[in-house]
Amino acid sequence: MSIIKSVDVKKWYGDFQALKGISMDVAEGEVLVIAGPSGSGKSTFIRCINRLEQHQDGQIFVDGIELTNDLKNIEAIRSEVGMVFQSFNLFPHLTVLQNITLAPIWVRKKSKTEAEEKAMELLERVGIPEQADKFPGQLSGGQQQRVAIARALAMEPKIMLFDEPTSALDPEMIKEVLDVMKELAKSGMTMIVVTHEMGFAKEVADRVMLFDDGQLVEENTPEEFFNNPKSDRTKLFLSQIL
């Protein structure tokens, strides 16, 4: 059963059409990598999935619920879908621990102690338990992104969205974040990852998609995608990026 399903999704910014009819679905536990040139609408699409952007035509279903203007639906879906941003977006005025426990306490209504226990567990998992009481500004980029992943996981989401999680990082830090993501993928989390890290796609993706100019150009298994792409556009893209 597919956990995310989109049907002919279209999206405009003013007169500019950013998504020109995207139809796809993602099965539970699947890891999907989305690649594509800059400005092709990758971010726009995954931001539509938790309604940080509003699509104007077509339908999106997440976990069987359709995304409409109904606030209850939106909040329900958002707490099931975790998101990790390119620029981390940690809350600078809160400590790492507070960053992670904020949503469990205020949305899930967990007790503070319970939330903190869970948070320490997650920090352990992303490898930085000793940073719990620091402020985001005192951490390195890689550490910040791992905190951001922990923060999203603290809500125990069914789906994780990653929007270029490593492209603001130095090469040494990329690895530490990718390792966390690989571990997460192995644990059976449903993930949609927008990334230019083709190594990651080869290693963990179940499926790879190529976006171009607001359209879904190719959808394939990683082996086929890299070795035997269907469309010329993919060949061109791969020749540029590899």
Binding site: K10, D15, Q17, K20, Q56, Q215
Partner: protein
């Protein structure tokens, strides 16, 4: 593939664009709709009240038009008004020149210009629509804006909208230079002063005020000068554009110095009508100016000769001491100032005039400066021939811009000095500057006004 890429516009724009816009921006939710209704009600009633307040006969706007001259120049004698007009003309000439010279000749798409116009006319229509017909004056209702006038205004507005709309349709892609639009507006303005009639305070032969005030055209003493000045402005604009087109970039410095000079000339010569006496100029000012310009040119020449170079510093210090000494001696004020700027010249000449070419340029600048300074000082120190009741010949709007100009000119360097002082590493200077800044800014402006007034008063008694 290619076919799919054909641009598809958002589904909403294809049909019912307006209702979609309304829904998104005004009625997106219940609370938003309530807010919309409430704020429209508030805006309309506030506008109605304000418009009613301003057009109520209780406001006596004729008092403003009647006293306009007072507002502008206060008691400046009418016989010398040509000086005021020369002042205005000079400034507007400079304005036109700088405008023509610096204009980027930006182009506007006619469609966009029309959109702006449409917005403006719609606001006008909105105001016409909601303006109250009558207001309450001490318990009685007085009609201030008859429905007939309203209909005429509406018809004019709608006519304008149609015209602009047609224009927009006919030339959707054409462009027009923005300056031309500005000149169009200005000429409409200048044209209108020949046409409009305003309620004017008039008196019968037996010196009784005519009631109600009759609508009369503006006086020729207003319309003619403004028209001429507008002509000058266009002329100056054309000159400026021409110079720019010829690539005379050195003109920009000239224009800038004219801007600095103009207020000084206005204050010392034009506005004051100085009683200078030709003999004073011939026997005193010209010789002084000639002497100093020769002295300066000599200084420029010799300072860079090899023999003098090691002693440059001592000459500069000597000049500084000399000018300070002269400052405290009972000599002509002209001399005091000239010695100071000679010191300035001596201290900058070695670095500026390091080649033949630049030495020549500096000499010219120096001579011109000396002559202008001497003449300005002559104007400023002569008796003024303008006689006004009260103390100052500057009044009204004239005084406003004078204070603004000289205030900015003086306070800016002073502020920079204070700011530098506050960040200084030397504690005494830092503390004094901080104290001055904090003390001055924590006390309201009006108390400083009283303070300096009373202080000047105390000194003068």
């Amino acid at each position: 593939m290619q076919d799919n890429k054909t641009l598809e516009s958002p589904p909403e724009v294809q049909f019912a664009g307006v209702s979609r816009w309304l829904k998104e921006n005004l009625f997106s939710s219940l609370s938003s709709s309530i807010l919309t209704v409430l704020s429209i009600a508030a805006v309309v009633s506030v506008f109605r009240a304000i418009i009613g307040f301003f057009i109520s006969p209780e406001r006596e706007w004729t008092a403003v038009t009647y006293n306009l001259q007072l507002y502008m120049v206060q008691a400046y004698p009418e016989s010398d008004f040509i000086r005021v007009w020369i002042t205005v003309g000079l400034l507007i000439f400079l304005l036109g020149l700088s405008w023509g010279f610096n204009s980027l000749k930006e182009k506007v798409i006619i469609k966009e210009w029309c959109d702006g116009l449409l917005k403006g006319i719609s606001s006008f229509l909105f105001i016409v629509l909601i303006a109250p017909t009558s207001v309450d004056v001490e318990g009685t209702t007085v009609e201030v804006f008859s429905n007939n006038t309203r209909y005429i205004c509406l018809a004019v507005g709608v006519g304008l909208i149609l015209t602009v709309y047609l224009l927009r349709k006919t030339y959707p892609k054409n462009e027009i230079v923005r300056d031309r639009i500005s000149f169009l507006y200005l000429s409409l303005l200048v044209g209108s002063i020949w046409i409009i009639k305003v309620p004017t305070v008039t008196f019968t032969s037996s010196n009784e005020r005519v009631d109600p005030d009759p609508f009369l055209p503006l006086a020729n003493t207003t319309t003619i000068p403004w028209t001429i000045i507008f002509g000058f402005m266009i002329f100056a604009y054309l000159i400026g554009s021409f110079l720019k087109a010829k690539g005379k970039n050195s003109m920009s410095r000239l224009i800038l110095s004219s801007w600095v000079l103009a207020p000084l000339v206005i204050v010392s010569w034009i506005y004051r009508k100085p009683d200078f006496g030709m003999s004073n100029i011939l026997t005193l000012d010209i010789p002084i100016a000639v002497t100093f310009s020769i002295l300066g040119i000599l200084a420029i020449r010799t300072l860079n000769s090899e023999k003098i170079v090691p002693y440059q510093r001592y000459i500069t210090y000597g000049m500084l001491v000399l000018s300070i000494v002269i400052f405290f001696l009972p000599v002509l004020r002209q001399l005091k100032i000239l010695f100071f700027i000679t010191w300035l010249l001596v201290s900058v000449a070695p670095t500026i005039a390091n080649s033949k070419e630049s030495a020549k340029n500096l000499s010219i600048v120096w001579s011109v400066t000396v002559f202008i300074l001497v003449l300005l000082m002559r104007g400023a120190s002569s008796e003024s021939l303008i006689v006004v009741p009260g103390s100052s010949i500057y009044g009204g709007f004239t005084l406003t811009w004078l204070i603004a100009f000289f205030g900015i000119a003086i306070s800016f360097p002073f502020g920079v000095i204070l700011a530098l002082g506050r960040t200084s590493k030397l504690p005494v200077i830092r503390i004094i500057c901080t104290a001055v800044i904090e003390l001055v800014r924590s006390v309201p402006f009006i108390t400083w006004l009283f303070f300096w007034k009373r202080y000047a008063h105390t000194l003068s008694t």
